[in-house]
């Protein structure tokens, strides 16, 4: 088989744009997921049974269904039940981007909520008892003992979730969001060479996650100083 990467050179800019879109999509989704995940965790820890059961169902449902199904549900389902996803005037493709961010961030929020929960649960019960035995209230104990220690475990896990999302977000190319994955199919169609463009995006994805993984390990080292 003959591989000729030079035919891709005219498309360098498109690949770069696709990469930027992938990074933007992942970053936006994880940031929104961090907020939604927080609300879900509050719901799960709430004494209100209805809240905690719905929050648990939400995370179970998201984690128990394929992300592709979720993307289609949003892309085709929402307009059908009367919630059209708007196209921002002057920004072609923004409808797809919004769908992508909504789908990925909701998906990610379920996983992020689990990250928060296990982070909080990982704190040694003895320290919580010690705090309570000193007369600290449960909210003071949360604020001064549990959360500061949980954050050290949660931050690396959140960053890892970002790495996962940079890869998994490629799924939204299916609805026409112009991320790295989508660019490769455009280029494939234009050049009639499927293999080269796939190799290029594989290398780009791998380079991206390698850099991020490196950052993660530095972060883990910095945060574990006091363990």
């Amino acid at each position: 088989m003959n591989l000729d990467f030079t035919i891709l050179l005219p498309y360098t800019n498109m690949f770069l744009k696709g990469l930027l879109m992938t990074i933007f999509l992942s970053l936006a989704s994880v940031l929104i997921g961090i907020i939604i995940g927080f609300l879900i965790t509050l719901g799960r820890m709430s004494k209100n049974k209805i809240l905690s059961i719905s929050a648990k169902f939400y995370t179970d449902f998201i984690r128990g269904t394929p992300i592709l199904v979720q993307v289609f549900l949003f892309y085709f389902g929402l307009p059908q039940i009367g919630i059209p996803i708007p196209e921002i005037p002057g920004l072609p493709g923004s409808r797809e981007v919004i769908t992508g961010i909504v789908a990925i961030s909701l998906n990610s929020s379920a996983y992020i909520s689990e990250i928060y929960r296990s982070g909080l649960q990982s704190i040694d019960k003895g320290q919580i008892e010690a705090a309570r035995s000193l007369g600290l209230s449960s909210s003071q104990t949360m604020r001064f003992v549990t959360v500061p220690q949980a954050v050290r475990r949660i931050l690396p896990a959140l960053f890892n979730e970002f790495i996962v999302v940079t890869k998994e977000s490629s799924i939204v190319s299916i609805v026409g969001l112009r991320d790295l994955m989508y660019v490769s199919s455009l280029v494939k169609a234009a050049t009639y060479s499927a293999f080269e463009s796939l190799i290029v995006i594989a290398v780009i994805y791998f380079a991206l996650t390698s850099v991020l993984t490196k950052i993660l390990s530095v972060m883990e080292r910095k945060l574990s100083v006091h363990d």
Binding site: A130, A131, S133, L134, G135, Q140, F144
Partner: protein, 239 residues
């Protein structure tokens, strides 16, 4: 100072305390001994309401402790745990000033000044700025004692404070506890250190199966136990 009357405690169906009654006077050192699972820890933890109980009353200065605001009660009754339970993310000094500032409302300067005096007392002035993971077990426990003292408690509860320590570190912790006793602190100590009980206790309580089998001065209880159960236990632990 503390009066316990007919205390019953169940975990679900399992009855762990089956009617405990005793009195702890001001400045008294009470040592609690007994076999594993007899309810010693549970009894101790009822005194500061880390455990709830179903029946009976505990009076603190003649007031039912369930009628006292729980965090006020706990501010008055300190506790030292077998596993130290220091706050891992905080330096020694910050372990000591957290509760005084948040619960008693001390300002930082006062809290730090008090904490320094206490660290001096437990012999750890040079460890003020280190994190718990940089300390030995004995040092951790001394910090935990200082942390409890920083709240200026009226009563200190110790649950097997030396059981998690290597033998060579037991002494330094017992030394600190002896000094506290000499300073007039009121203490309830669950321990297997019989020598400490003999030397320091005003009263020894022997518990088995959720009952107080016998309580007496250390002289009487160790040298002339009245109950077979006590004799058997002492024979076992004293070899």
């Amino acid at each position: 100072m503390i009066k316990v009357e007919n205390l019953h405690k169940k975990f679900k169906k399992l009855e762990v305390l089956k009617g405990i009654s005793t009195v702890i006077d001001k400045q008294e050192i009470v040592v609690v001994i007994g076999p594993s699972g007899s309810g010693k820890s549970t009894f101790l933890r009822c005194l500061n309401l880390l455990e709830d109980y179903q029946e009976g009353t505990i009076l603190y200065n003649d007031t039912d402790i369930k009628k006292i605001e729980i965090n006020k009660l706990r501010a008055d009754i300190g506790m030292v745990f077998q596993n130290f339970n220091l706050f891992d993310h905080l330096k020694v000094i910050d372990n000591l000033i957290l509760a005084p500032m948040q619960v008693r409302g001390l300002n930082k300067e006062t809290a730090i000044a008090n904490a320094k005096v206490l660290l001096e007392k437990v012999g750890l002035s040079d460890k003020i700025d280190v994190y718990p993971h940089q300390l030995s077990g004995g040092q951790k426990q001394r910090v935990a004692i200082a942390r409890a003292l920083a709240m200026e408690p009226k009563l200190l509860l110790f649950d097997e404070p030396t059981s998690a320590l290597d033998p060579e570190m037991v002494k330094e912790v017992l030394e600190v506890m002896k000094n506290l006793a000499n300073d007039g602190m009121t203490m309830v100590v669950v321990t297997h250190e019989m020598k400490f009980a003999k030397d320091v206790a005003d009263k020894v309580i022997f518990m088995a199966d959720g009952y107080i089998v016998e309580e007496d001065t250390p002289e009487n209880l160790f040298d002339a136990p009245k109950h077979e159960r006590t004799k058997a236990f002492l024979n076992m632990v004293m070899d």
